[in-house]
């Protein structure tokens, strides 16, 4: 891997890193490091000073100790699919890429847990579990690429969180390298470990409290059956009313996803599913569980959708048709490429009952900033993903995207929600932290980070506004794409 080094990291540190992981697993030339200047959030970029690819916990502990001694920032990275810039090397430093630590170490079907390395790609675990009757429930849409370590760090969700919960509900323990290189295990496969739930604090901490080097995950029994439905509505309001009615009737679908007209058009152009192009919104609804209860749930859901003026409710007749319905949801992102050269996927949450209002506001924001915004999202959780279409080469458009995003997220807060349901704060949303939280909330968060990461060398510039309490100005790292 190595070519000529032109990093600013002192030679002594570089050579020690090479000793720890082997020459082949250190990138120090600018051209190689450039690949790691950003993750799935491309609006801001900065190159790491060195990139290392360790294979073991012990190597990571040595790397972190070295950085600790020399005051060098360290940032863990999985697959780099974060959409909030969690993997952006703010302030440079050493980027620790975990993709070589990718093994599934143990599977215990009877006790329903597995042990994996952090670089294990989410879907690999599901594939390895085929035939055991068990699966790993968190299934982010990026599951074919993202790592379980990254999922732990961002507390990922996915289409099935409505019924099955997010990553934190499925992680039993983690092995972590702390900021000074010490290795600890938080939690246990038996759960309820006495003492503080530091595991709960670690999940979703976006790399700022430690580097996760091993994960014990809960395995969930496969449902006996599914009923997958696609309900087509004339208007977004009818679709969101149906969502409220379904939940209100005491039904908790495994998935309840919504696509609006803009997305339907794109999906239709790409895959020809036969959706009516004039439909206002489509709901993908899946109930799962024991076979015995599914027919009634399907009938109830269908009736509730009809009561809310669904134009049509299609039911997948078999596994093939189910896959086809899911395909249109899962491939929706791919289809967006047809609509515009770049897009920005936003992530916000509102109470379910506020969905009609937030979708109306998104529409207005799009009009105001002359941007096309399409929506495909986890409607059952109230987790919106407006997708803002633009051209990265046009700085005026980039600017409008940023302002429109800001307005939409502010609206989420106004409606009692959150600025992120699953992508995290990263660098992208630091500016919102003092709108969501009081200065004493932020002080408490700083205090927690301080307790784990006293010198601030682990993932600096993430999650929390810098320096003390509230109202802090956010440093924008590196250069901004097209600005």
């Amino acid at each position: 891997m190595a070519s000529t080094s032109d990093t600013t990291v002192p030679a002594r540190i570089l050579s020690t890193l090479q000793k720890i992981v082997g020459n082949r697993h250190v990138l120090s030339s600018r051209s190689e490091r450039l690949v790691y200047e950003c993750d799935g959030f491309t609006l801001e970029k900065n190159t790491p000073d060195v990139v290392v690819f360790p294979r073991t916990t012990e190597e990571i502990a040595q790397i972190v100790r070295l950085c600790h001694e020399h005051g060098v920032p360290v940032l863990p990275r999985g697959a780099g699919t974060s959409l909030a810039g969690g993997g952006l090397p703010v302030g440079g430093g050493v980027l620790v890429v975990l993709t070589r630590m990718k093994d599934i170490l143990e599977i215990h079907p009877d006790d329903r847990y597995a042990v994996v390395e952090p670089g294990c790609v989410n879907v690999w675990l599901s594939l390895a579990l085929r035939g055991t009757g068990l699966h790993y429930a968190p299934d982010p849409s990026s599951q074919g690429a993202c790592t379980i370590g990254g999922n732990v760090a961002t507390n990922s969700g996915g289409p099935h969180t409505l019924k099955y919960g997010v990553t934190v509900n499925h992680v039993l323990a983690v092995e972590v390298v702390l900021a000074d290189g010490e290795v600890v295990v938080l939690g246990s496969p038996a759960e309820d470990t006495p003492g503080l739930d530091l595991l709960g604090a670690m999940v979703g901490s976006e790399g700022t409290l430690g580097i996760v080097t091993k994960v014990w995950v809960r395995l969930t029994p496969d449902p006996q059956g599914y009923r997958t439905m696609l309900a087509i509505f004339d208007s977004v309001d009818d679709a969101t009313t149906a969502i409220s009615r379904i939940i209100g009737a005491g039904i908790i679908p495994a998935a309840l996803e919504m696509m609006d007209q803009g997305i339907i058009e794109a999906v239709e152009a790409a895959f020809q599913f036969g959706f009516p192009l004039d439909a206002g919104a489509v709901l993908l609804i899946e109930v799962d569980g024991l076979e015995a209860g599914l027919d009634r749930q399907q009938q109830d859901v269908t009736q509730l959708c009809r009561d809310c003026r669904a134009r049509e409710v299609r039911v997948a007749a078999d596994a093939r048709e189910r896959m086809r319905l899911w395909k249109c949801r899962k491939e929706a992102f791919g289809a967006i490429g047809r609509l515009s050269p770049s897009y920005c996927t936003q992530d916000g949450v509102v109470p379910r009952t506020q969905l009609p209002e937030i979708l109306r506001r998104i529409r207005e924001t799009g009009e105001k900033y002359r941007l096309r915004i399409v929506n495909v999202f986890h409607a059952g959780d109230g987790n919106i993903h407006p997708i803002l279409l633009f051209d990265e080469r046009d700085s005026d458009q980039v600017d409008r995207v940023l302002r429109a995003s800001h307005e939409i997220l502010s609206a989420c807060l106004e409606l009692g929600g959150s600025v992120t349901g699953e992508h995290g704060i990263g660098v992208e949303k630091i500016g919102f932290m003092d709108q969501m939280f009081s200065s004493s909330d932020l002080e408490a968060m700083h205090a927690l980070r301080q307790a784990f990461n006293p010198r601030g060398l682990l993932s600096p510039g993430k999650l929390l506004p810098t320096a003390g309490a509230c109202g802090i100005e956010q440093r924008h790292p590196g250069r901004r794409a097209a600005l």
Binding site: D110, A190, E191
Partner: protein, 413 residues
Amino acid sequence: MATALETLPLRETQSIESVEALTRCLRQASAEGVPVYPIGGATSLEYGMPAREAGIGADLTPLASIVDYPARDLTLTVQAGVRWSQVQAALGEENQELPLDVPFPSQATAGGIVATAWTGPRRFGYGAVRDYVIGIEAVSGRGDVFHGGGRVVKNVAGYDFCKLLTGSMGTLGILSQITFRVRPKPERRCWLSAPVENWEVARELALRLRRAPLAAVTMGVVRGPYWKQTAWSECIESVEDLRFVLLLEGLAEEVAGSIETARHVATGWCRWHEDDEPSLVQSRLDDLAAFPGSTEPPLAIRAKTVASGAEPVAQAILAIDADASLFADLATGMVDAHFSVFPQEGLSATLVKKIQPIARHYGGHVRLLRNASGAEMTHQVVWTELGLPLQLMENVKQAFDPNNILNRGRFVW
């Protein structure tokens, strides 16, 4: 149930009427370095290490309102001092519930349940307390109010104080308000129960049932004299009987289908007795939930391991005390036990030497729930020696409660 005055060295008790009052109380105590003991329904004050230093009791029961209950959003926000039965009653009106079952629900408070992360018999079906807390407000040992989470079911903004504070025994902050995500109530519930020959049969049956498609939310064995005085009495003929119990919950069709499946799985192993009369179903559940909170036994413990550890732990307990009463949750690996007499050899020789190693072997631990003798209340006896990252925990404690006023000396460090 012992009162606060019997269990805590209180020199005064302050009635907390508002968050401001709590802030004032903690600021002053912090300045003076006086311990503060948060008190909810006073149902679990014996839990943990005994408090040794005289301090102030902070009575949170006046903070008893339901703040917000948008039923369609499936969330509920309450003040910390609200009684659990009141929470369940409010939810019941909308045909919803929190599937967290506790001893003394008409006494226990929401704050106390979250602070102890108390697990009940339906853990297998519905998960733990931490899975239901989506928003939290607390006052730190510095006297500062802070929040985590919010009122939406999905939220990853900032550190997850909901998890950090759940089970923290009030050592980082005194909880003042909590937002829960809630669930629709199941349409039908039914207990299946059957005598089983021995622990090996119980273990094997549990394994088979766990692999079968069932709407099971509780799965375990009750055993011992205690159950004679409960809604389970008719199931217990002799104290040595092992009674396998299985609670099914869900849609009517799911429960009906599960009964069939359970019959099929158990063929040749046992014959189920079926009870679905709603008040009996509930009182049996209440009795299972109440069991670990009972103040009758001289010694009560709770072990938690991976699922396969429950049976060996239960056997180890019975090897020490053949008349012990217990509930062994074979699906989640939790064993609650009452000893019939206080072990003569003492707790180090029994709990620490004989039971804890087995629990540890299965990834778990044993906690002491009640020790009538009051002797040997060491960290190792109360919580099990686990090689916890204590320094890290202390750093976190220091960050939230620098003068160590909150539940001083009662937790794992």
